[in-house]
Amino acid sequence: MDTHAALYEQGLARIASLRKLAPRKSKTLQQVMEDHGITRRDFMKWSASISAMLALPLPFSTLVAEAAEVADRVPLLWIQLAECTGCSESLLRASTPDVSTLIFDYVSLEYQETLMAAAGWQAEENLENAMRDNHGKYLLAFEGAVPTANNGAFLTVGCKGHTGLEIAKKAAEGAAAIISVGTCAAFGGVQAAAPNPTGAQGIHTIVDRPVINLGGCPPSEVNIVGTLMYFIMFGKLPALDMFNRPKWAYGARVHDNCERRGHFDAGEFVEEFGDQAAKDGYCLYKVGCKGPYTYNNCPTERFNAHTSWPVLAGHGCIGCSEPDFWDTMRDFEKPLGQQILHGLDADADTVGAVILGVTAVGIGAHAIGSIFAGKHEDK
């Protein structure tokens, strides 16, 4: 049996086992979609595009559709730590909610602070119940970094005053799989930018098990839902890259699939924002595009229901899905070679040129010294 056929069988078995579980929603996915005016045709198109995005062949689209139907059998806990809710917003605030947004709603979301009605003691109770009742079965998503300095005291959540560190460790114990949604949960994000006084870190550093990192500030909704779908379909982690990001989403650099790449190779660059080259849609490398150092599928998937993405809108990539992007990718509107070095207020080339100049002066002094030093005679 070839790999795809084996994977398909695995998916069928996984969905059959999920079907046996009781649905947690009163309405079926079909009813929910009918309520939102989404046709069967739209749904099948979505299933096909998700399978294509996951780099699976077309027959898998029926598997995606089936997995979507049983998505309400998979409990999902969504824990928010040191974050801005931008990742949740990326999923929820689509102006035209598509199937991806609906699926997020349809998944058995046991705990999500932005969406839930409960507050205070009730909310805390919901979280504890969800973790206990679904122990070992739930999919756990994190949004936001974990402050670890002073034993995590920089972040306390809820009426019981638990630190983010405690909550994250406890929740991770009973999870079937862990997804870090967004750069903060994955790599610390802006909270972890130098000098990082709160010791903010990505989730993977505090739990001793594999974590899927979905870099991006925010990651696109399809990357989040695609990862959910993969887990629902196969019950395991997808193939991951060097930073544990799914290869189907983060396998290529932004630069590799950029629509302006031809202008890069031809040496056609925007010199400053608003110039003729910018109007002609030339490459944004010289105004600081970090696409060459950033692995993500933004050029192909785009954002807001595939409408646009930063480079299409005329600004370079800032590398938001990479570890420590806040420090390594600055300055956002200058190429990396002109990065201003901390404490020196100059870029590497200026520093290099100054050292070169000092060296030249030293050599000159030595050469003049040699004139007065007299001759050396070989004996």
């Binding site: 890069f264 190779d265 040496g267 150092y293 390594t328 590497a348 050469a367």
Partner: protein, 228 residues
């Protein structure tokens, strides 16, 4: 005008392969620095036709010279350790001798003569070792960047180790930044290196600018019964 008649012996210092390596390395460093700075900040005006891949051609040149540097760095490391002639390895004796360091530094300050057990002085040896390590670093980071540009063939073969190095260094941006920083080590080295080579030739009449071309150095001849 005075004229002295002295007998000199002609000693082979650098074998042909070492000289070829040196000049290939010199050529590739110059070419890599120029094309590298261009890639960091593309300063040429775009041609009228976008069929002329300015950036593409310059990147190609950078990669070709990069592969020359990789080859020379490997060949040179092999020669240093396994060459039959131990003239390079003999200099390690001076490197571990504080006295040799002292004599060497005095020689640079116009006092006395430089110690030479082998081909190099101690400071010179350590500097060249540092430059070789820097070259190795540039080759590795360069190949990591290469694997991200060409995904098939050699690039594909290098992909897994490149991903590992990228992860170790904390991202491709960090790899690229250090690739840029270490460029300056070579620029500053070249200036000092050329000056020192010429200065040694003028002061001590051991012109290494000459010997890296011809391979030979000249020493005053002493009769055997005079001691040395």
């Amino acid at each position: 005008m005075t004229k002295e008649t002295m007998l000199y012996t002609r000693d082979l210092i650098f074998s042909a392969i070492i000289r070829v390596c040196h000049w290939l390395r010199a050529l590739s460093i110059v070419a890599l620095v120029i094309t590298g700075f261009y890639i960091a900040w593309p300063f040429l005006v775009a041609p009228q036709s976008s069929d002329v891949l300015v950036q593409g051609w310059i990147r190609m040149a950078h990669e070709i010279f990069g592969f020359i540097l990789v080859a020379v760095t490997l060949a040179r490391a092999y020669l240093f350790f396994f060459s039959k002639n131990n003239i390079e390895r003999r200099s390690i004796k001076d490197v571990i001798s504080p006295k040799a360091w002292f004599t060497q530094l005095k020689a640079y300050l116009w006092m006395g003569k430089a110690p030479h057990s082998g081909a190099y002085g101690p400071l010179q040896f350590v500097t060249y070792m540092g430059i070789s390590v820097a070259a190795f670093f540039m080759c590795v980071t360069g190949l990591v960047l290469y694997a991200n540009v060409y995904h098939l063939g050699l690039g594909g073969l290098l992909w897994e180790p490149s991903a590992w190095i990228t992860q170790m260094m904390g991202g491709l941006a960090v790899v690229r930044l250090w690739h840029h920083y270490i460029t300056w080590v070579f620029i500053i080295f070249v200036l000092i290196h050329v000056y020192m080579a010429v200065w040694m030739g003028i002061r001590f009449k051991h012109n290494s600018v000459d010997s890296i071309v011809s391979g030979y150095d000249y020493h005053p001849h002493h009769d055997e019964h005079e001691g040395k």
